[in-house]
Symmetry: C2
Subunit: 226 residues, 2 copies
Amino acid sequence: MADLGGQSQASFKSGGLSRIQEKNRSLILEAALGEFSMKGFSGATVERIAADAGMSKSNLLYYFSSKEAIYNATLAHILEVWLAPLKTLNPDGEPAQELAAYIRQKIEMSARFPEASRLFANEVMQGAPQILPILQTDLKRLVAEKSQVIEDWIAAGKMRSVDPVHLIFTIWATTQHYADFSVQIKALTGKDLSDADFQAETETAVTTLILNGVGLSLPTEGGSAA
Amino acid sequence: MADLGGQSQASFKSGGLSRIQEKNRSLILEAALGEFSMKGFSGATVERIAADAGMSKSNLLYYFSSKEAIYNATLAHILEVWLAPLKTLNPDGEPAQELAAYIRQKIEMSARFPEASRLFANEVMQGAPQILPILQTDLKRLVAEKSQVIEDWIAAGKMRSVDPVHLIFTIWATTQHYADFSVQIKALTGKDLSDADFQAETETAVTTLILNGVGLSLPTEGGSAA
DNA sequence: TTGCATCTTGACCATTTGGTCAAATCCCTC
DNA sequence: GAGGGATTTGACCAAATGGTCAAGATGCAA
């Protein structure tokens, strides 16, 4: 995968990081995710991230050479896991099952890692200054590949003819919306994805709408009868 | 509507603003929208906004008492127009027509005012520090009202049973996604909503998917035959 | 034209903030 | 337990930035 920089400052033994480095880098990345996702790149301060990570600013800068380096590391850290679900779309599976599983995974991600979603959204909205190359190469390749899968399903008469790219965008948009706009959603409904019932309800609503939208439906799970 | 502050500094005659005030305020708000939507509240600088508006920082601060005041004014300025389309959902119309018209308007907004969309998204993602009260009152009321309209359509057997709130969220999510993530969309497809063809294609794809999703379809426009 | 309010600006200030550095402390190996 | 590298920190610095202020320029009514 096209890289973002990664390893930056502190020396390390041939194999990997020392015990202390391992722990501190992890603490920093966690704190950084919280700050960057909440305040954006400019709004977050190194001092605050350091405090959240339980160390001095100087020490943080011993592990990451600059604010931008922390930001890039954070982004790289979440990017892989964030795009992972799409990779699981299986060409040999049934469209309804596969799409439903994908949507479920994406909603699960929004529920468990809303900060990651917001960080990603923030980065892209600012013009993707750090990850544009990745979008243009790795992500583009992945989307093209999975679009072909959907095209094949359509060609095989397994689902209604839709533009695969717009379908993917729609799934991204809807699922990530529940993380990125959770404050608005909470203001309007009184709940958000941190509520298990609301998550289930959202999953049903979104899945049903999109599957119906492409002319599919999920077998009712209750009965074993066809 | 719950207010955000509005009028702040410069004196004004009984009726309204002077010619010069009118012009400068407008220039400032336009410049501010550009900066805030691109860099976020913290990332934007007063100096830069002033430069974009063609005046000195001092002069800008003559019209707006603080950076936050500019931000609030910008937000207030776009909020009304941003939420307007939902208000046009007509209880007496046909669901398919009404929803399609709403989606078309939202995509049109995303195409024409992507900065407004991003500014709004930014504000909400940061926890809606300025507009939370508005979301909790005005927007909540509006959503409740239009949800009832959809409920009524469902009760009348005019469309499939879906949760109206999730339907509204889905429409917001998909349509705004094309503005907020336009950089990503351009990286993946080579186009964005600034391309008229792509806008038309998007409108068709999204409308078709959502209408089908709720068990509706639009009469084919070409022929007069049923 | 004159007088006054409006408008505009450069100089300036206090604070915040990213980043440096040398000194101190900790941890591990031999 | 001594030596040396790894880790940690406070003091410090320079740049950026939001905001103030007094003085000057401009527009307008009488």
